[in-house]
Amino acid sequence: SAVISQKPSRDICQRGTSLTIQCQVDSQVTMMFWYRQQPGQSLTLIATANQGSEATYESGFVIDKFPISRPNLTFSTLTVSNMSPEDSSIYLCSAPLNANTQYFGPGTRLTVL
């Protein structure tokens, strides 16, 4: 299976700042996905990033807070803007590397003080 990598693996940030998380897939994919896993919770889909068009956000998530870029078929970024402690989570990207399965990156553990 293909490899998905994320940077940074973890970060500690101050309230009010922004962090951009990068996701790289070692094969070309049309769709990439961004998830959040809050402490003790399940994985929640933030948005779907389709190359060449605007990201599609799930209910409860907005572009101003979580802007996404998708400049090519192997790369995407998620920015967590104007952070607050409630944004402390693991952020994960994924890609459907076959028709019926999604594979995940290792995650970015974000702590906001």
Partner: protein, 114 residues
């Protein structure tokens, strides 16, 4: 609205015995069901899947059973090994407007006791 539910937050099993992890869902439009394993500080690792038109899929020590009438699936691990200790997520996939959407359950933490 929790469409995929894992009602057992944790499970302890002796090494060598069978682990059975359960999952219920509400949406009959799901096409595939997936199981992921997650260690702390790592991303979820895909384990096994089953099509909604099947009732069983087996891969080595892992077998997934699907009961569509009950909207229930289960993952059997036999024999269980200490390295299987992790959080297991059940997930369901459907296609909306041509793209995949995966909905996750809340996870079950499995502890395999040596």
């Amino acid at each position: 609205d929790q469409q995929v539910k894992q009602n057992s937050p944790s499970l302890s099993v002796q090494e060598g015995r069978i682990s059975i992890l359960n999952c219920d869902y509400t949406n009959s439009m799901f096409d595939y069901f997936l199981w992921y394993k997650k260690y702390p500080a790592e991303g979820p690792t895909f384990l096994i899947s089953i099509s909604s038109i099947k009732d069983k899929n087996e891969d080595g020590r892992f077998t997934v059973f699907l009961n569509k009438s009950a909207k229930h699936l289960s993952l059997h691990i036999v024999p269980s090994q200490p390295g299987d200790s992790a959080v297991y997520f059940c997930a369901a996939l459907n296609r909306i407007r041509g793209y995949q959407k995966v909905t996750f359950g809340t996870g079950t933490k499995l502890q395999v006791i040596p």
